[in-house]
Structure formats: structure tokens, C-alpha cells
């Protein structure tokens, strides 16, 4: 098991404090108002929290994967919707630093690391959800530019983004392939048509976008034309692990709230935690969270050793996202009628957790990936 060194402990203490003092008190209003908390995000950037995973050459601090997973859990426990933007940012910083040119990296990474700029990943389309191969957005080579046309849906941070990582169909020689391009909001041809009204993760915007003759210079290709799948899958592998960490954070917040409540709520003359039915719920939550924790850190260990983690990341994503769903539902049950009302944060945890099995690759599809590996 990973033991955090003194430096990591110091970072985690500082992140925890930021979450307690700045994020937690704002979380309920972020959910209620359903507006992206730009100021808080900027503050998070100024505090250097977004820089923690960025490479050093771009002003980042490059902490261990272990430590970053804990940071994500802490932020998710405070406000899962804010952690959507943080998770997206860190996954995309990983993508850019790994696959983009030095120039593109210099263009956006330092600003992403300080929270001055926001980036979004544009993969999903109305007719291409789980099935990424059905992407219909096209990128056609036109001299020194790619001409991009098509629409995207459910794009996290779409309407507040400065940079857009776009996946589109293109021609490579005589074959069709996927291309990954970096656009910025100053390029004409990006239209934001709406933000979705959602069950949870409110305050994290989920946008519908249209690209209409968007001209992206050819030096803004990330990886090579035709490498789109490779870029997407490598990034999603990391993103799935991050989602697992989010799940653990939400589950922990729900469990802690349930434990506290169960000690103070008295029925039939006893605090309800004295009833085995309630205690077992709390215990099962603890067992799940401990197991999830061990799982994500075993994957972090593999990543630090430079090993592939495609199957493992899918396992962690499925396990921890479903854990979060289960734990938040049970925590709500522990609160009884009060849990169903907005006076306590458990109903928010429950609504937020419901998103985790869907995005970053639905769990059914994750199971397909795992199945393919174990049956190969």
C-alpha cells in the first residue's frame, strides 16, 4: 500500500483545508443555482491545485498519481460538480502533455494549470455515445487548415471553455480515421447551443456545441491524423481512474454524514446506529470504500511503474462508481425522510453519484472491455 511521504501529506492537508473552507460551504449553492462557479475554479487554480498534475516544464508540480487521486476524492467529497471540471482538466492536461506538440502544450497547459483557462473534451455526439466509431463530425483538410463541421453533446465545461479538444472523422490517405484537434474559442465557427438541465452534477455545465466551418490550423492536430482512437483510449484510461477516485470521495462524504446522523437520531429511545440494520449499512459502506481505495491505489502503483492499466482502470471505474451509487442510496436511507429533503447534503450526493456509471464510458461498455480481456 502506498505510504504518503511528508511532502504529499502536506499537500493533502492544504487541499483538505481548501475543500473545507472554500468548497464545502459553497457546494449546496452551486447545486441549487446550477451555474458554473467560475470564481471558485479560479481560486482553485490560484491555490495551485490544478497545477498539481501538470508537468513541471509547463509550470506544474507533477505529484504522484496516488496523491492526485486523493486530491480528487477530497474535492469530490466537498463538491462533486466542481470536481467534474477538475477531473476533466487533469485528464486533458494528461492528453495534451502526452500527445500534443511542445508548441500546443505551451499554448494551453500553463493557463490550464493556473485555472486561467478551461478545456473541454468533445467526443460524444447525438448518434455517437458509447459507440465512438459512429462519430459524424468531419475534419476535412483544406490547405493549411482542417475544416470542422458537426455537433457534439454532453460536453463537460463546453460553454465555459477556452480550449476544445475535438474528435472528428477525417481522411488519411484513402482510409477514414479519427483525428484529434485543438481549437480555441477565438476561432470562428464554434457555437454553443445550450446547457443541459441535469439530475445532478448541477453547476458543472454539460453543453451542446456546433462546429460550422471551424478552421483549425494543421499544427493544431494532437498526435497524428488518424491517431484519434489511440489518443482517446489512452486518455480515457486515465480518466476512468479519476472517475473512480471521484466515486470514492462522494461515497466517503455520504458515509461520514450517515455515521454522524445515525449517532444523533434517536428512535425507540436509542440512537439509530445502535440498531444492527443501520450499523450493517454503515459497515458495508466502510468495507466498499476501503476496497475501492485499495483498488485505485493498486492501479496508481502500476501507472507509476509504467504498466498498462486498461482493464484495471475499467474495473475501478465500474466498482467505485457503483459503490458511490449504492453508498449514497443507503446513506439517504439512514437519514430517512430528512435524507429525501434538501436540508441535508445526502440527496445531492445521491443525485451526483448517479452520473458516474454513465460518463467516461458507460459501465456496460466498461464490462465489455473487461470481458474482452478476460475471455481473450
Amino acid at each position: 500500500m502506498h505510504v504518503f511521504n511528508e511532502e504529499e501529506r502536506e499537500i493533502l492537508t492544504a487541499v483538505k483545508r481548501f475543500c473545507e473552507d472554500r468548497i464545502k460551504p459553497a457546494a449546496s449553492a452551486i447545486d441549487e443555482e446550477d451555474v458554473f462557479p467560475r470564481e471558485l475554479y479560479t481560486e482553485l487554480g490560484k491555490a495551485g491545485i490544478l497545477a498539481l498534475t501538470a508537468p513541471e516544464e509547463y509550470g506544474g508540480l507533477e505529484i504522484s498519481v496516488h496523491c492526485w487521486l486523493e486530491c480528487l476524492s477530497l474535492i469530490s467529497a466537498a463538491s462533486a460538480s466542481l470536481s467534474m471540471s477538475v477531473t476533466a482538466c487533469s485528464s486533458l492536461m494528461f492528453l495534451v502533455s502526452r500527445f500534443a506538440s511542445e508548441e500546443l502544450g505551451q499554448k494551453c497547459l500553463p493557463k490550464l494549470a493556473t485555472g486561467e483557462a478551461i478545456m473541454c473534451a468533445c467526443i460524444t455526439e447525438p448518434n455517437a455515445g458509447s459507440d465512438v466509431s459512429s462519430i459524424a463530425t468531419t475534419a476535412v483538410l483544406d490547405g493549411e487548415h482542417y475544416l470542422v463541421n458537426g455537433s457534439k453533446i454532453f460536453i463537460t465545461s463546453g460553454s465555459v471553455a477556452d480550449y476544445f479538444v475535438i474528435f472528428a472523422k477525417t481522411r488519411v490517405g484513402d482510409k477514414e480515421g479519427l483525428i484529434c484537434l485543438l481549437a480555441d474559442k477565438t476561432m470562428p465557427g464554434i457555437r454553443i447551443t445550450r446547457d443541459e438541465k441535469k439530475l445532478g452534477m448541477r453547476g458543472s455545465v454539460t453543453s451542446e456545441l456546433w462546429f460550422e466551418d471551424l478552421r483549425v490550423p494543421i499544427d493544431h492536430v494532437i498526435g497524428n491524423a488518424g491517431d484519434g482512437f489511440k489518443v482517446a483510449y489512452n486518455t480515457l484510461e486515465r480518466g476512468r481512474l479519476y472517475v473512480a477516485a471521484m466515486g470514492l470521495g462522494i461515497a466517503r462524504a455520504a458515509q461520514e454524514a450517515a455515521v454522524e446522523y445515525s449517532k444523533t437520531r434517536v428512535q425507540y429511545g436509542k440512537p439509530i446506529c445502535k440498531y444492527q440494520a443501520i450499523q450493517n449499512k454503515l459497515v458495508d459502506m466502510e468495507i466498499g470504500i476501503d476496497a475501492g481505495h485499495a483498488l485505485v491505489h493498486s492501479i496508481a502503483e502500476r501507472i507509476e511503474r509504467g504498466e498498462q492499466t486498461i482493464k484495471q482502470a475499467s474495473c475501478a471505474k465500474v466498482f467505485c462508481s457503483e459503490l458511490a451509487e449504492r453508498v449514497t442510496a443507503e446513506a439517504l436511507q439512514v437519514f430517512g425522510g430528512y435524507g429525501y429533503c434538501k436540508d441535508y447534503p445526502v440527496e445531492r450526493y445521491f443525485r451526483d453519484a448517479k452520473a458516474l456509471p454513465i460518463f467516461e464510458g458507460a459501465n456496460e461498455v466498461q464490462r465489455n472491455i473487461i470481458g474482452k480481456v478476460i475471455l481473450a
Binding site: E10, T13, A14, R17, F18, K46, A47, G48, L52, L61
Partner: protein
């Protein structure tokens, strides 16, 4: 000009307290944080450093658990840090702690000594005034505002129902109260930068003249007993309620006789 700021590591006030069988508080590194009052002092000192170019030296006493507190002070912007190593926790006694801190303040040639007016854990409020006494310096307690005018420290200090404006000559001892300054969050870059700085260590034995001169000792610590739930007296009429209340006071609480 040099400012010495004393910082203390305390249990997180939010943490759930636990005691071992001997009645000592169970501490682990997860629930230790820099004391809030020390932090106000550090913040104001660092602001003075930024405004006027002073040197700010953070000083702590304690076992290795006290290191994060001075590191935090360094991350906030202090120029140097000292830890007086006290592995056996001798300096939990205010008079001894004051002795040691006064000696360190002298050693670092402090023109201004700052610290919290009390600590968020024990709340004894003794160390700073004692340091002032030992050093023979003026001190102002519960300071909520301070600025420097030449050799004068102009302060506003909290008194019972108001504010006293008190000016003292340097060198002086200033005890920070909540409100003196809003502590900054050190950024992750500050934290990483700070890791490259060394913390100077001294041993408590170099300063303490006599560890035996202990006038008092904490024997055992325990939580206050939880308040028992009260009862609501109900009745049809006011006089019925009063009757019931009087009986309860007489027969159950036994605080009324003869009524």
C-alpha cells in the same frame, strides 16, 4: 528589522477527540494543524515583511509533529524557521515554554515578537505575556489591528466591551487575536518551494534552565460529560405549569425547600 513569530501545532478543532487509558490525548498527524491564533500573527508578520521588507522568523517548540506548523508558516512567507526540539514534551508547561521562547527571541535578535493571544487547544493565554515579562518588554494582548510608525507599534486591542488603542515602543511583544489579519492559503507552489528550505533545529535542553521548576502539571484529560436532555413541562393552564415546575424543582432537582 526582525520579527520572531511563535507558532504552535494544535489538534484540529474539528477533529473527534480520543483519549488513551492514561488519560492522555491521542494525537496523530492527520488531525494536527497550525494553531489559528498563531496563524493570524504569521499573516500580519508576513504582510509587514511584504510592505516593509522585514525578516520574519517562525519559531516552534515540540516533537516532530510540530514541524508541519513551521513549514506552513514558511509556506505563508516567513523568511526562516526554527524548531526547538522537545521530544519529551517538557515544554507543555507555559512557564518553561516562555523561558525557551524568550531565549530564542534573543538569539535571533528579534525587534518584534509576535504570537497568538492564546492557543486554540489549551487556551491558557500565558506564554506571550510571560515572554514579555522575561524579556522586560512591553506587550499588548488581543491585538486586532496593528501598524508600525517608526519605532512605535500602534495597536488596537480588544477589551471587555470595546477597543483600546495602545501604542508601544519597539522592541515589543504583540499577541494576535482573531481579526488581526486574514491568513492566506499558501499555494501548492509555495508549499513545494518551502520544502527546499531548511528548518534550523535546536534542542530544548540548550535553553531551559530548569525543567523541574514546574508549578503545575496536567494530570488527566477527559471530555466534558454530555449534557443530559431536558424536559418540557406541559399543562392546561399557566398555574398548572407553574405548580409542576415548582414540584420538579423541589422534588427532583432538590433546589427548593419548604415551597
Amino acid at each position: 528589522m526582525r520579527i520572531a513569530v511563535f507558532v504552535k501545532q494544535v489538534m484540529d478543532p474539528e477533529a473527534v477527540l480520543a483519549f488513551d487509558e492514561s488519560g492522555a490525548l491521542v494525537q496523530n498527524e492527520q488531525n494536527l494543524i497550525i494553531d489559528a491564533y498563531s496563524e493570524y500573527a504569521v499573516e500580519r508578520a508576513v504582510q509587514l515583511k511584504e510592505e516593509l521588507g522585514f525578516e520574519v522568523i517562525a519559531v516552534t517548540i515540540g516533537d516532530e509533529n510540530s514541524i508541519p506548523a513551521v513549514r506552513h508558516a514558511l509556506s505563508m512567507g516567513c523568511s526562516e524557521a526554527y524548531q526547538v526540539s522537545d521530544p519529551d514534551q517538557l515544554c507543555t508547561i507555559p512557564e518553561l515554554k516562555a523561558q525557551v521562547l524568550a531565549a530564542v527571541a534573543k538569539e535571533v535578535s528579534a525587534d518584534l515578537v509576535m504570537g497568538g493571544c492564546m492557543s486554540a487547544d489549551t487556551g491558557r493565554a500565558q506564554v506571550m505575556p510571560r515572554v514579555a515579562e522575561i524579556l522586560g518588554l512591553p506587550h499588548v494582548n488581543k491585538v486586532v489591528e496593528m501598524r508600525l510608525e517608526g519605532n512605535l507599534v500602534c495597536t488596537k486591542s480588544e477589551v471587555n466591551d470595546g477597543i483600546a488603542e495602545i501604542d508601544v515602543q519597539l522592541p515589543a511583544v504583540i499577541c494576535a487575536q482573531e481579526g488581526l489579519a486574514e491568513p492566506r492559503y499558501p499555494s501548492m507552489w509555495d508549499i513545494m518551494q518551502t520544502r527546499k528550505k531548511t528548518i534550523q533545529t535546536r534542542s530544548v535542553n540548550e535553553y531551559a534552565t530548569s525543567c523541574a521548576s514546574t508549578s503545575h502539571l496536567a494530570v488527566v484529560l477527559r471530555l466534558k460529560e454530555a449534557r443530559k436532555s431536558g424536559s418540557i413541562i406541559e399543562g392546561e393552564t399557566l398555574s398548572e405549569v407553574v405548580q409542576k415546575a415548582v414540584s420538579a424543582l423541589r422534588d427532583e432537582a432538590k433546589v427548593l425547600w419548604g415551597a
